[in-house]
């Protein structure tokens, strides 16, 4: 009989904080007054997201998102807005690049949690143990980077 080593812990993936953010996402909705925006889609699953940013004096003074997706993608986007609000643009970009890199790195395990330097974001580290769900967590961060870098493209995870 073929067997498989046990994968990630479900309770770690769907922590209370993740479920709460998925149920009641922060900064959710269209922001009419914005300096940057971008769309992201996952063509395989149909998840869609749009991120709105208002930049003022090199800082992100306001940020919101709207879209449809699973608990992981909505929670990740909600946490993104909370994390990046009031950050300098340079710092926010660093956060996003770091998040995507850690999520996609084969060498980092979920135990290596210190990298984010942010307790709320660290709850998403469990996603690394569910390889089919990593794209759910990273889509909004890629979309954020696209918006802040002024790229006029729809981000896709494929």
């Amino acid at each position: 009989m073929a067997t498989q080593k046990k994968t990630g812990n479900l309770k770690e993936l769907y922590k209370k904080l993740v479920i709460e953010h998925a149920r009641k996402p922060q900064n959710f909705g269209c922001m009419e007054l914005h300096s940057d925006s971008s769309k992201g889609v996952n063509p395989l699953c149909g998840d869609k997201i749009k991120i709105y940013i208002l930049q003022e004096k090199g800082h992100i003074s306001k940020i919101s998102f709207e879209g449809v997706g699973c608990a992981i993608s909505i929670a990740s986007a909600s946490l993104l807005t909370e994390t990046l609000k009031n950050q300098s643009v340079a710092q926010a970009k660093k956060y996003a690049k770091n998040f995507i890199m850690i999520m996609n790195s084969n060498h980092e395990s979920s135990e290596n949690k210190k990298k984010f330097n942010n307790r709320d974001l660290e709850t998403l580290m469990a996603v690394k143990d569910f390889p089919t769900r990593i794209k759910c967590a990273t889509l909004c961060w890629q979309t954020f980077l696209s918006a802040i870098e002024g790229k006029d493209i729809v981000v896709t995870t494929e």
């Binding site: 073929a2 479900l10 993936l13 395989l44 699953c45 149909g46 998840d47 699973c70």
Partner: protein, 415 residues
């Protein structure tokens, strides 16, 4: 075959077939695998796996090309399977069976070879709202190429093609009707025989996408009087990368080749090329010979069990699964056609289907989540996707019980 004793007899005999499928016998996350994703791809029994291996170990060579023994044996396996397919779907002639890479290629072949020369402005292809993307996009492309248009017959809230409305849409401007025998997203069984009869009375040919029907119900292309019938090996317990296009001989004869290269010619000079006869005209290049060998074994396997027994078994499981699902708190069934084949799509409270899929997978239960390559169906219901459980020969009541129990855990986590 609605008699309870008969159903029980089938149930008992089907249980013995389960052990033919080695992949089913494994642990996922330390739980017994419950495979409910056969509509995406069905599993192969040992008989098919062994035949593919036997072919590779003993007979492999190129077909129709060599005079040596291996080439002869490979050709024999290849052509015997063509005969086998012909008998399985009851086609009049063996040369009406074209090997392709799958249903998608079969449909593309008809789009480019049959429809492209016939379509033009004011001519159209008629499909339904129920179709898989592979029975939508090839028609959109050929319409773009020719100026033709695509007409879409409506479905009702149960997820059934409204047959009368589709029939009303047939007129002399329709070049071809292309509809699925069974919906991949919802499992609805289309009244293909009535539609074909009505279409023929108006002189319009019909292509049936049979990918989701072929391993579940008896398919008789002569009885249906289908003009084209497309299906895939991997949805009938054969390997991936092999498929079939059945077409009526007189239609196929009149069609130009779809792709070109070796094996589809009878004579090549730099000034002109004469095309080979059917079916080889449509089979340029070295084909998927081992896939064909596996397909032959899969057909033998289905015949051994009996397609009618399979239908009875799967219908009884579907009835059980549907009634158990109805009792789950917060469930909404999507696709409630009166005649269905082995598939149930559903939504659970406000929980996204991917989260349902991950939590079930963690318990060893494999289902499909998302839009199932049928975005227009999702759009019809105003949803982004569903969770879908689909059945096959090897499933049993225990699988359904595990699945329903698995859904309880989904609800617990999200509460």
């Amino acid at each position: 075959m609605n008699n309870k004793n008969e159903i029980n007899q089938v149930k008992n005999s089907m249980e013995s077939f389960r052990s033919d499928f080695p992949v089913i016998d494994q642990l996922i996350n330390n739980k017994k695998l419950v495979y409910l994703d056969s509509a995406a791809s069905s599993q192969m029994p040992n008989q098919v796996i062994n035949e593919v291996s036997r072919y590779h170990s003993n007979d492999h060579a190129n077909v129709h090309r060599g005079i040596h023994s291996l080439s002869h044996r490979a050709t024999e396996t290849f052509e015997n399977t063509r005969k086998n397919v012909s008998e399985f779907i009851n086609s009049k002639n063996t040369n009406e069976i074209i090997f392709t890479s799958g249903t998608t290629e079969s449909i593309n072949l008809v789009a480019q070879s049959y429809c492209r020369p016939r379509l033009k402005k004011n001519k159209k292809i008629l499909i339904s709202h129920l179709e898989h993307h592979s029975n939508i996009v090839p028609w959109q492309i050929v319409c773009e190429q020719t100026g033709g248009s695509l007409d879409v017959a409506p479905i009702n809230q149960d997820g059934e093609i409204i047959t009368e409305k589709l029939i009303d849409m047939i007129d002399s401007s329709v070049v071809l009707i292309a509809i699925s025998h069974v919906s991949n997203a919802l499992g609805s069984l289309t009244e293909v025989k009535n539609i074909i009869e009505a279409a023929h009375s108006k002189g319009v040919p019909v292509l049936i996408d049979g990918a989701q029907a072929i391993s579940h119900i008896k398919v008789d292309v002569l009885d249906l009087d289908a003009d084209f019938y497309a299906f895939s090996g991997h949805k009938m317990h054969a390997p991936t990368g092999i498929g079939i296009l059945y077409g009526k001989e007189e239609l196929l004869e009149a069609m130009p080749p779809y792709k070109s290269g070796g094996d589809m010619i009878s004579e090549v000079t730099f000034s002109a090329t004469t095309y080979n006869d059917l079916p080889y005209k449509f089979e340029a290049g070295t084909p998927n010979i081992s896939g064909v060998a596996g397909l032959g074994a899969a057909i033998n396997y289905i015949r051994e069990i009996g397609i009618d027994n399979i239908t009875v078994h799967e219908n009884s499981l579907l009835d059980y699964m549907t009634s158990e699902l109805q009792d789950v708190d917060g469930i909404r069934l999507i696709g409630t056609a009166s005649k269905k084949v082995g598939v149930q799509s559903f939504l659970l409270k406000d929980i996204h289907s991917h989260d349902i899929g991950t939590i079930l997978d963690h318990q060893g239960i494999a289902i499909r989540t998302g839009h199932h390559c049928a975005m227009p169906v999702m759009e019809f219901y105003g949803i982004s996707g569903t969770a879908r459980a689909s059945l096959s020969i090897y499933n049993n009541h225990e699988d359904i019980d595990h699945f329903i129990k698995g859904l309880d855990k989904v609800i617990t986590i999200f509460n």
